[in-house]
Symmetry: C2
Subunit: 392 residues, 2 copies
């Protein structure tokens, strides 16, 4: 049997395969991007489900519109407003998590051999989604403020019309934990306008800021409809409902709606109505404050533990929000090999190589601090520190 060429490019995600190993309860896992399950608002969700079934049961179990359930789209538009992005509900398409928005963006923009520009490193789930559309990747180096703009412009000029999209995660980036400065955001938008390119702004963590002032979303500065914004309830409410969204101007949004129609018709009606009913009564903003309180403490504990247990020569980012820190080891240490040893010592992380579509980078790792409690964070970092020390 013969498969399409694209199937040669699609490989099993190492994170997903690793996560299977790390699901054993005895493992201290910094590998996933899991929100802390003890913070899920179980009672409120249950109550909203019961209300949905008792007052709108038949509607909730029936097919619904591809765009999404209007009261949920209105809540999402309100949430976008709270993020500084003025929009309307009809600019929202409800998706199965923001991962589906990544898939659709690939579908809309890439012919085989086209180029997408990504941060180096970038989110491996996006890299995997885009590969299905047989695009190639152009990595642009980043510093603490975001992509290096000279390099970005040189890259666009070099590859010209074959560049079809710029993909960025400007807030608490996955995997680096870094946040773009205002200036870089403005520069990115200016370059995108100059070269007439769309920007895909992926923002799952933007509301999880522990300290400092929020940066304006790139989409909030977009005056000609070239920015597509991806949001999700996975990190602020729960991932198990699989609800995210695409927000864009009408011409672009209509393309995403067509993709949704062909891909799976619509997001779950009952989950959409449940979340809309939930948000009628439950303050997601208060809930986000609780999440931030816990994650901030975990970040602090992790930073202290890294300071204490990681040997000199190891650097790591200090995120001001989100779920991840990015650790750089001396270049001679291969984190894939280290990862295998770590599993033996019942601690897990994601080796950095997966976050670079082209370049060789084998000495970094992504560490998650949202899903383990403070005691496990200390113990896990202690074990990792000892393993790193042994490699120095």
């Amino acid at each position: 049997m013969k498969y399409a060429n694209r199937m040669d490019r699609i490989k099993a995600s190492e994170i997903r395969e690793l996560l299977k190993l790390t699901q054993r309860p005895e493992i201290i896992s910094f590998a996933g991007g899991l929100p802390a399950p003890e913070l899920f608002p179980l009672e409120a969700v249950e109550k909203a489900m019961v209300k949905t079934m008792q007052t709108q049961g038949a509607q909730a179990l029936q097919y619904g519109p591809t765009e999404g359930y209007d009261p949920l789209r209105k809540h999402i538009a309100g949430l976008m407003g709270a993020m500084g992005i003025g929009t309307e509900f009809n600019n929202i398409l409800v998706t199965n998590g923001s991962q589906q928005g990544l898939d659709f963006a690939g579908r809309i923009f890439f012919n085989e051999g086209d180029y997408v520009i990504v941060e180096s490193p970038s989110y491996m789930g996006a890299i995997n989604a885009f590969k299905a559309y047989e695009c190639n990747f152009l990595e642009v180096d980043t510093d603490a403020d975001g992509m290096l703009m000279d390099q970005l412009e040189a890259t666009i000029r070099k590859y010209g019309d074959k560049v079809k999209m710029i993909y960025v995660i400007p807030d608490f980036q996955n995997p680096s934990g870094r946040t773009w400065s205002l200036e870089r955001r403005q520069q990115l938008l200016a370059l995108a306008k100059q070269y007439d390119l769309p920007i895909l702004e992926d923002n799952p963590y933007g509301l999880l800021r522990f300290e400092g002032e929020p940066m304006p979303a790139i989409r909030s500065m977009d005056d000609d409809g070239r920015v597509i914004f991806l949001g999700t309830f996975s990190k602020t409410l729960t991932p198990g409902l699989r609800l995210g969204w695409v927000e864009a101007d009408q011409e672009l949004l209509q393309k995403f709606i067509l993709c949704k129609q062909g891909a799976d018709l619509q997001a779950s009606t009952v989950n959409q109505i449940t979340v809309a009913n939930l948000l009628d009564e439950f303050s997601i903003y208060d809930h986000i404050e609780k999440i931030k309180y816990v994650y901030r403490n975990r970040r602090d504990v992790m930073m202290e533990a890294m300071e204490m247990y990681f040997p000199e020569g190891v650097t790591y980012t200090r995120p001001t929000g989100g779920l991840f820190t990015w650790v750089e080891l001396p270049e001679h240490i291969n984190t894939k090999e280290l990862g295998a040893k770590a599993i033996e010592h019942k601690v897990a992380f994601v080796p950095g190589a997966s976050f670079f579509p082209n370049s060789e980078n084998n000495h970094c790792m992504r560490i998650n601090y949202s899903s383990m409690n403070e005691e496990k964070i200390k113990e896990g970092i202690k074990r990792l520190g000892a393993l790193i020390q042994a490699e120095m």
Copy 2:
């Protein structure tokens, strides 16, 4: 801004656009493929949701494995067994309805310009899903027993290696309502083996047989892993949970799992656990008997009404299961134009043209009998009959 070439092929589904019009309560709609909402087991679903939240809440709201929730996969394997297909839970991937399986099949098999063989007419949702992968369509004519095998073989020989898959809906086909004979099923499988082609067997309605003996699924006769089976809970339980599945041998299933990972990571954890918990206590087989009883009556009422109100020269299929009948009018009557007039008279159907990817066919219509009550069926068919009469 430049879009990928495939976007030129993806158009808004006429059914979905039409459905928006037909959602007005005063319209008697035979247009959708909606199951009867009054048959949804609301209390049982609510009870299963509450159980899920109270006993497995944190797990239900967390990320889960891409393949699906194992207890649900086991229930699905049992359901496949009841359809005469021996399989194991690890041959099942849980998807967002079977529509997502169609999307993934396109992704796995088609390069630009490849050919897929479909029944003429075929399901427009599949046609739309496949178009995203820039394939071309080869229609093979059908009679009351399924595809015409001579024409199928001639088509395969003519297009050779560019043919990548055969897509069929052998039970109560959408849109025709027809069911393939055993002999045609065997012949199709033999041809697929001879020319080494995969078969995509889409079976949303197979369990909804009103009369006669069930035909064996093509997958049940597959001895070398070339048949991919698509199933769904949308027609036997509820579409609003968006749960369907792909069942295939391991090599093929792994390709679908990779697609799922990139496309949206996984189906909703909470919906999967809820359905697994529901099926622990609730007999879906008893429930299907209730659905069949109602749909059989509605089919009978519709057949009687068509007999009474449709003028001579109009033919229609008499389905032994499923949701649809296919009506053929004299060739000079254009059903798109008739459809517009029908909406004015507050009755709706889907014009047949959408079900033919290549050929011109403007004098047919798909009529659904599952979602309107008997009184509305009589009234709607009476109105349609008068409109047709006026065109004769």
